[in-house]
Symmetry: none
Subunit: 220 residues, 4 copies
DNA sequence: GATGAATGAGTGTTCATTCAT
DNA sequence: TATGAATGAACACTCATTCAT
C-alpha cells in the first residue's frame, strides 16, 4: 500500500493511486501479451493501451521491454513455486502421493497456459532471460527433493522398483503434462482432438497417471 | 552457379536462371531464422543478407513474410513425413518395433531441433498457419496407422495389454521426445542438465523407451 | 516554437507540445503535395521533409497516407464551405446577385487551384474518399438553396424565365468556373492561352457571366 | 501486318505473332490503366499482366513507363482528332450546325471517359507530357477553324450576334461537356445525381445546348 | 522477338524509447 | 507520479527497370 495518495479534501484530482497496483496492473496485462505473442511479437503500445496507466509508466516501473518480459517470467515461476509449495502429500502412501503429484502438476499446467507459453518463449530465446530470474536456481533442489521424497517412500513401501532417478521421473511427468498444453493447437489441427474438452482431458489425465505409475512399478 | 540454364533429360528447355536453387537457398536460410526467432522475431532483411540473393527475391518467390514462414513450416512437416515414410518395422516383433519406433522418433527430434522450434512457434500462434500447409490433414491417418499396426501385432503376439489407444500412445511418445528438445534450454538453466550431451541423451533415451514399453505391457 | 505550452483565456490547461501547430503544419504541406501530385504520386518522405516535424509524426496524427489525404480533402471542402457561407447577396436584385455569385465562384476557383486539383484527384479515384468527408452530405442542400433563392427572386422580379432548375444552373456555373482552372495547362499548351494572365481572366470572366445570364433570361 | 510469323509446318510454336498487334494490345491495356489510376498510380507489372505479352515487351516497344504514358496520351488525342475530322456540318444552317457540334462534342466525351481522364491527368502534371505529343500543335487551328466557320455562317444568316470569339465559344462548349464527365463521381457523391443515367444525360444535354445557343443569340 | 529471373533504390509503416511539461 | 508529443532506426514490402538466355 505504499505510494498511495488519495484525492485531497479540496477536490483536486489526486495524483497517484497506488504504485503497487499500477505495477501489478501493467504486469498482468504484459503477462497475457507476452504469453500470447512472445517477446518480439508483443507491442509496448498495445500493452500500454490495455493498461489503466500509460506507456510512460511501463518505462518508469520496468525500464525496458526486455525487463518487463523478465518480470513477467519471474512472476510466472513464482506462481508455480507457490503452487508447488502448497502441496502436501506426506501423509499419503507412495502410489497415491505420486498420483496426486502428477494430477496436480497436470492441473497446474492446464490452469496456467500462460506459464506454459512463457516457458516455450524462453526456450525459443534459449533461456537467455531465465538466468536472471530470482529464485530460479533453487527450483532444482525443491523439485528434486519432492520427487525424491516420494521415491524413497515408494521404495520403503516396496511398491516402487529400485533405481528410480528423481530428475528422470520429474522430466517424464513434466514432458507429459507440458506437451498437453504446449502443443494444444497443432494437436487440434492435425488430430482434430480438442485438448480443452473436459472429457478429453479426463481420459488423457488417466493415461498420463497410468504411464507414470507403470514406469515406477516396473523392474526395468 | 547463377545464370545457369540447363536442358533436362527429356529435352524440355529446362529454364531456370537457377530459380530452384535460389528458392531453396532462401528457404534454407529462412528456416533457420524462423526456427531461431519465430515469425515476429525474424527479420526479412537479415534473412536476405544471409542469402545468396536479395530481399526482392524473397518477395518474388514467396510474396510475404507470412507466406515464407508457411513455406518453411510446410518444408518442416514434409521432412518428418519423409522420415517416417522411410521407416519399416514390419518384420520386427512388436516390442522391438515399438522400441525402434520410439528411438527413431526421438532421434528425429534430436536431429531436427528446427522442426521442434517451428512446432513451438506454431503453437504460440495457435497453429494459425498450419491449416494451409499441404498434406497436414492426412498426417493424422499416417501416424495413427503406423501406431495401430504395432499395437495390433503386440496384441496378437500377446505382449501388449488390450485397450491401447493408438492416438494416446502417439501422444505419450511424442510428449517425451518433443519435450526433451523443446525444453532443452530451461532444463539446462534450471537443472544444469545438458540435453545435448550424448551420455545424457543415451540415458534419457533408455528411460523414455522403458516408460513407453512399461505402459503398453502393464495392465493398468 | 516547439515545446510551447500555453494556457488559454478561459483557464483550461491548454496543453500542446504544440500539437495543433504540428498537425496544421503537416496538413498544409500535405495539401500542396497531394494537390500537385495526387494520392499515388505524393511521397510521405517528401511531405515529411518539407514539414517542421517528421514522418513519424504524420503517422502519429493521421495514421496513414490515405487518411492524411482524406484530411486534406476535408480541409479543402471546409474551405469552400466557409467561403460560400460568407457570401450574402440577399439585398441585390436577382441579375446582380447571380452575376456576383458567378464572379465569386470563379474567383474562389482561381484563388484555390489546390481545391480544384483535389477535386480532380478525387474524380480520378472515383470519389472513393469523398464519402467519408465530414459535412459533404449537406453540401447539396446548401448549394441548391442558395441557387434557388436567386432563381426565385429572379422569377419574382420577372427577369428570369420560368422553369430554371437550381441544380442545372449550379452545374452550368460550376463547369465554366472549374474548367478554367482544371484545364489550365492543356489549354495553354494547345491554344497558347495563359489562363493566369489577368487580361485573359477578365475577358473569360465576363464571357462566363454573360453566358450564364443569357441562359436564365432566354425562354429556350 | 509486318512482323507476322505463324506456326510453321512442323508444329513448333511460332515465335512472334505480330509486332503491331502486340504494340496495340499493350497500348490498349495501358490506356485503361493510366486513365484509371494516373501515371503514378498505374503499375507496369499490372499492365504487363493484363497484356497478352510480357513486361519485357513493354520496354522493348516503349522504352519506359513515361514514354508509354505519352503514347497513350497521343493515341487519345489522335482519337478525338479523327472523330472531329469525321464531322461535317457544312450543309446545315448555323444554329443546327452549332447544336450538332455541341451534341457531338458531348457524345464524344461521354463515349470516351478515358480521354477525359487522360486530360485530367495531364493537367495534374501541368501538361508536361503533352508538348511532345504529335499533332498537338495544330489542334488549335483545327478547332478554331471549325468554330469560326459556324460563327461566320451564323452571322451571315443573321442568327448570331456579332463579336463572338471562336476560342471563347470553344472553351464554353468544352467546359460544359468536359465537366459532365470529369466530375461525374464527385457530382454523384455530393448531389446524388448519376451522370451515366440516360435520362439525366438527355436532360443535361439539352440544357447545355440551350445555354450555348442562348449565348450566341444574345446581343451581349 | 520473347521469357523468367534478378535488382537497387525507394515507400509506406511501425517500433521501442525519450522529452517537455 | 503522470501525460501527450516527439523521435530515429528499423521494418515489411514495392517499384520501374535490366540481365541472361
Amino acid at each position: 500500500m505504499k505510494g498511495r495518495c488519495v484525492t485531497d479534501a479540496d477536490g483536486r484530482p489526486g495524483r497517484t493511486h497506488d504504485a503497487d497496483a499500477t505495477r501489478a496492473d501493467i504486469l498482468k496485462v504484459a503477462a497475457s501479451e507476452f504469453a500470447a505473442k512472445g517477446l518480439a511479437g508483443a507491442r509496448i503500445d498495445e500493452i500500454a493501451e490495455k493498461t489503466r496507466s500509460s506507456k510512460r509508466m511501463i518505462y518508469y516501473y520496468f525500464g525496458s521491454k526486455e525487463e518487463l518480459y523478465r518480470a513477467v517470467l519471474e512472476q510466472n515461476y513464482a506462481g508455480i513455486r507457490e503452487a508447488e509449495a502448497d502441496r502436501h502429500f506426506e501423509d499419503l502412501p507412495a502410489l497415491a502421493a505420486l498420483r496426486a503429484h502428477v494430477e496436480h502438476t497436470l492441473d497446474y499446467h492446464l490452469a496456467h497456459p500462460e506459464f506454459v507459453r512463457m516457458v516455450m518463449n524462453e526456450n525459443i530465446h534459449q533461456a537467455q532471460h531465465l538466468g536472471g530470474v530470482e529464485g530460479i536456481r533453487d527450483r532444482n533442489s525443491r523439485v528434486i527433493a519432492s520427487m525424491q521424497a516420494i521415491i524413497d517412500k515408494g521404495v520403503r513401501e516396496g511398491v516402487f522398483r529400485a533405481g528410480i532417478d528423481a530428475l528422470e521421473l520429474h522430466l517424464q511427468i513434466s514432458s507429459l503434462c507440458f506437451y498437453m498444453v504446449s502443443n494444444r493447437y497443432t494437436i487440434r489441427t492435425i488430430f482434430g482432438l480438442d485438448m480443452e474438452d473436459p472429457a478429453v482431458i479426463a481420459q488423457r489425465r488417466e493415461a498420463i497417471v497410468q504411464s507414470v505409475l507403470a514406469s515406477v512399478r516396473q523392474a526395468g
